[in-house]
Subunit: 304 residues, 2 copies
């Protein structure tokens, strides 16, 4: 898909700081996590601020994290992040499925998940269904390395509400990734049980869904409820985690939900070794170690 | 050791906020990590501020983390933390050694490591060598659950410079834990190679040292140098990690340095099962999974 051929959106640069003003420029962006604490980051420049039909979108240039994409007040992507989230949401299910030919991503507007999916030669088609075209536009402009997957011939981008896409379509998938923002804002109803049931129905009989499942430290009740629901739908539900310095508590989890394959027992080590991915975070050890959950997390989601 | 029998230290409460002033009380504490970003926390009350001979010590009461101990500007302990750090620095080496009878802790003034060491019945004596008596005093007063180990008959507390204790003593230990604050401030010279060589010399022939080894995300150069040095001293050097919401990047590492035992191969699963620890973080899965290192960390410390 070529984005350059599309009409440029009306994005307003609200603040431009001239170099002569730098001495007076002492601006900090803070993402509050529980309301009374959070990550605070010194901002070099507000690169772009836009209001899409669905949410506020900011791109901030920061000293410590480089450029950051902020959706609805939450930091989503940053240049100096580890890119662990995108590698982990993608490679764990793709190496657990013996033939991941048809992949669907719901959300994922920054392109990071799609770009990692496209690294697997087994994938014949990858569809990304993102509600907010402006997120894709802005990400492509400011985070070009994340979004190289958009240019792959096997990739197809649809701008549509994920819920409607899941409920109205018929084609089935081997892998469905729920690469969503937080359950406040536009992604709220994509955390509900009825949606997960819909995703189950759109998977082949040996299909795998992976959903980002928030921070068990800060979002304990959301996490508990989500896993209770998922276990009523999928025969295999396993949580795995990774370190994301820009996310709340820097500890992020994923729900591996599967009709047939186990994430470790069915891990395709031969394909992993053959593909020789150049990752920053994901590797064989991490694939297995990520499923080792701390005691408080096991208790939270009722895992023995 | 009874602390109550000791002379109360001259600790000044600099700020006391009356309830009538609460409306005007909007105080935030920020720990900067790289200088231009960090964790920011709303402070309900400055409980205690002291200047010891070695460092500034603050106890803050916060909305999200409860009471927090801050040494030399760095958050060390908080009531709503996961207590992962103390469990991980302790149980990993103690279950890897078949007979951890004599344990030494350098630092560890908050008492958390000692309290966890005392949960192992194999331990016959545990010595804690902390330079700053005031840290122990203040921790005992505000974090009593962390410091129950101080009252154990097998425990002995020495207030002395760790370097001098290591260099001048002769008795040997099965386990030595370096439970230190950051390599700025009073613990700076306890991160040097000559100190680690001294610790090696004070270990029995099958002894294990575990040292906290900072965040590979924020302190990459410190971590790289430290592991290069440790590998020149110990035959077995393995990094493991845990999630600590109150530390920089929330991802903290430990150097497992051993003369004989491997942390996973020699893990004593029978003793682990028998002891039935009631942990918040550490368990069998985590003991093994914590040694799975992300790709960028493996590259940083040259591990294949």
């Amino acid at each position: 898909m070529s984005l350059s051929s599309k009409k440029r959106l009306d994005v307003k640069e609200k603040y431009i700081v001239e170099s002569s003003m730098q001495d007076l420029w002492n601006v900090w962006f803070t993402e509050l996590h529980l309301g009374n604490s959070g990550l605070t980051v010194k901002v070099k420049r507000l690169v772009e601020t836009a209001q899409s039909r669905y949410q506020r979108i900011d791109v901030l240039d920061t000293e410590d994290f480089g450029k950051m994409l902020v959706l609805y007040g939450s930091i989503m992507v940053a240049e100096n992040d580890l890119f662990s989230y995108n590698e982990m949401i993608t490679h764990v299910p793709l190496f657990a499925h013996p033939g991941p030919e048809r992949v669907l991503i719901i959300g994922g507007g920054d392109g990071g998940a799609l770009t990692n999916v496209m690294k697997h030669p087994e994938v014949k088609s990858a569809t990304m269904c993102e509600i907010d075209r402006m997120v894709v536009e802005i990400s492509t402009r400011h985070f070009p390395e994340l979004s190289t997957g958009f240019r792959d011939k096997r990739a197809r981008i649809i701008f549509r509400d994920g819920r409607k896409y899941i409920e109205t379509g018929r084609r089935k998938f081997d892998i469905i990734l729920l690469d969503l923002s937080d359950p406040i804002g536009p992604a709220a109803n994509l955390f509900q049980k009825s949606f997960h049931q819909g995703v189950f129905n759109r998977l082949n009989d040996d299909g795998i869904m992976v959903a980002q499942s928030e921070s068990p430290y800060y979002n304990a009740e959301t996490v508990r409820q989500m896993y209770d629901n998922l276990r009523e739908i999928f025969p295999i539900v396993k949580m795995y985690s990774c370190h994301v310095p820009i996310y709340p508590s820097c500890y992020w989890t994923f729900a591996f939900c599967s009709k047939k394959y186990h994430p470790i027992v069915d891990f395709d080590i031969d394909r992993y070794k053959k593909l020789k991915l150049k990752n920053n975070y994901y590797n064989l050890d991490v694939h297995i170690g990520a499923f080792a959950l701390p005691e408080y997390v096991k208790k939270l989601i009722g895992e023995k």
